[in-house]
Symmetry: C2
Subunit: 414 residues, 2 copies
């Protein structure tokens, strides 16, 4: 039996004993994990160093190495995040709906765990702990398949988690790490329908696209954010500038950063040049249409490809357009259904934009950077869904649950 099959089977079996475990038992296990990670931090940092050394040899960039790096401060942050998770309300067991039938049948729709959650993700080892603890809090077993570039770190973290679970009511098998990080194990997970209830990819566009295209297991699609801001004719110029600079430069590498600015033509004649200069001051590279290039010579001419591009860097595309209708059309053509904003004092245009733009989060006069589990008050987040089924937008604990109808009778037949 392959590693994936054996661990899948073990996870499924563990998931059956998790369905009626109490909130207290789950929280106790989480607390033990937080403690054990701190006890083991020396070992974890030592193993992490092996990944970093291999990464340097393999020529990984500084930013990827930084994502892999664990130190005492970061392990403390991970443990702190688990303690915050313990304080969150347990969604499992909640009655979502009650139906009483005339024949005496009582139907209760209750929130239950999904079962076994698979995660396929890239370099960050903190995702290993995040995913394992979010899954346990919601009564799910989890199968983790991380990146080879974080293999030593992931194995060390899992060893620590398993050690903690040994002394808890949660079966050790509830958390499984696939140690073989070859392509074959990812492919096996894509089709592990017998043991896996959902697969969540976290990482770059290529990874996500591959999982969505190939997997026959249901997928929760997260991530790609080609986010727009539309500055309407009546936009307050200072507000528009603040939101643009914040959305583009505060943290350009994240999925809710702004990638394209659409500007209504009259607003552009008045304030366009000043906005472009402000972006330039913030070291932002500008790809503009011809109207932009005409007033701002440092702008490069945008190609069709630019309107599709999620730069995830200090670059932005800028287009001058006629009105809110053209903005909606452009966004629904080139966007990725993540986060989209309009800046306007015209309420009618705001309503039109919010209703017609097809995205997980639509903003009137605020920065797209707020699309985030903790900003929304969910406290913890497994990712941001850009699909429309099951969960859309920031996914908190509830996104890791399913439902089940409990029907209580006294002999009713049809």
């Amino acid at each position: 039996m392959s590693e994936v099959l054996a661990k899948g089977k073990a996870a499924k079996e563990a998931s059956f004993s998790l369905v009626d475990i109490s909130t207290e038992e789950k929280n106790e296990a989480l607390a033990k994990i937080a403690d054990q990670l701190l006890v083991d931090q020396g070992m974890i940092i030592e193993e992490n160093r092996k990944d970093l050394e291999a990464g340097k040899k393999n020529g990984l960039t500084e930013s990827v190495l930084d994502r892999i790096m664990l130190n005492e401060k970061r392990i403390l942050d991970i443990a702190e995040a688990i303690r915050l998770l313990i304080d969150l309300k347990d969604p499992i067991g909640e009655t979502i709906e009650t139906i009483e039938k005339e024949n005496g049948l009582l139907i209760k729709k209750k929130r239950v765990p999904i079962g076994v959650i698979g995660m396929i993700y890239e370099a960050r080892p903190n995702v290993t702990v995040d995913a394992a603890t979010l899954a346990l809090k919601t009564g799910n077993a989890v199968i983790l398949r991380g990146s080879s570039s974080a293999s030593y770190s992931n194995q060390a973290l899992i060893q620590s988690i398993h050690q903690a679970l040994e002394n808890s009511s949660v079966p050790v098998n509830a958390v499984q790490l696939i140690e073989d990080t070859s392509r074959e194990t990812a492919k096996e997970l894509f089709h592990l329908k017998e043991y896996l209830d959902v697969l969540i990819p976290r990482g770059g566009k290529n990874l996500i696209d591959t999982v969505v295209r190939e997997a026959s297991v249901p997928v929760l699609e997260t991530g790609a954010g080609n986010c727009h801001i539309f500055i309407d004719e009546t936009a307050d110029d200072q507000m528009a500038e603040n939101i643009v600079i914040n959305g583009k430069t505060q943290r350009p590498s994240v999925c809710n950063a702004i990638e394209t600015i659409l500007v209504e033509e009259n607003w552009f004649s008045q304030y366009g040049k000043s906005l472009l200069e402000k972006l330039e001051e913030h070291q932002v590279e500008i790809f503009g249409d011809d109207k932009v290039a005409n007033v701002f010579e440092k702008a490069k001419l945008a190609t069709e490809e630019d309107w599709y591009t999620e730069y995830l860097a200090l670059s932005v595309s800028v287009k001058v357009i006629k009105d809110v209708h053209e903005a909606i059309q452009h966004i629904n053509t080139y966007g990725t259904n993540h986060s989209e904003a309009i800046v306007t004092e015209n309420k009618q245009n705001a309503t039109l934009f919010l209703n017609k733009v097809d995205a997980a989060a639509v903003y009137h006069n605020a920065s797209t950077r707020f699309t985030d589990g903790s900003e929304f008050g969910y406290g913890a987040e497994i990712g941001i869904s850009t699909q429309k089924l099951h969960a859309r937008g920031p996914m908190g604990l509830q996104a890791l649950t399913s439902s089940k109808f409990y029907i209580y009778g006294s002999g009713q037949i049809r």
Copy 2:
């Protein structure tokens, strides 16, 4: 451009004008459809006859021909179902969650249409109207791909629906029928990610399995029901018999019918023979384990295959087992996560069974036949989901909706 691509594009465009259409406008369009179907019933019945004649030539069974057949009574029933749908509450626009942040941001999670729904289904032409009208009620466009055996009927129904929409606020393009019923068009739909938001297969196990395995568009899995009833030691004998006979014989061809009976050994020694005789009286063919065969010689010996089989006919498999734990184990191994029942007077065993059995609907002392949208009071049903994401169990209007975060600010940045 292929038929599927052209109609996909048209449906997607129509879906954008459906997002802010009012409940009144949708209901008016539905009323016009109901009226038009009655006006056109002569034409529809004539076209339906062509399908029936072709079906007879092609050797379709009587039961398939009956599913295809439309007459005045059936068209009237279809129109009546639309009028009931009009009376149902429109879920679109409902605010699901409101979050107010200290910085003044107001976040509202609202219910919105999914966008474009694809349906791939088998012989029944009534599904054509069902799917189109359920989609419209929830503000969705729909692409229908029916069976070649109902081509004339489906085209006639769609002609009538289009005629009705001509005089309504709903764009005609919101309802698309793929006329080419070759395998190729189904395959194109599997991967029409650009225009299709979800694909719902309705039909036999083969159809559903193929769609789940091959589609890269998200799938709502419906259908297969290998449902069990477990008769516990303390079960009331009359109640157990009533539920068994009802679950097995009242309508054996449906997915919530009982396919396997698990009987606790002590109950079996006392009442087993009488139950088997009762089944025999109802012309039910019995596949039993050796304990069953020992007391009832008309039983055939069950093979491993029988425990996996959804007979959808007057056949049942019967197994004598030790206790509730073995019942749970058996169901979680062979079941299809649809509807599962326990008959018992022992509350502890009932609780254990309901919690541990992994299914959309779990019953204590009632027939599995109740798993049904109209029985649950949803009024209309697009299918019964056996998956765990998005929707589980009978899917009413809400299963055809997504959500969207509306964020109202006054210049907030991070």
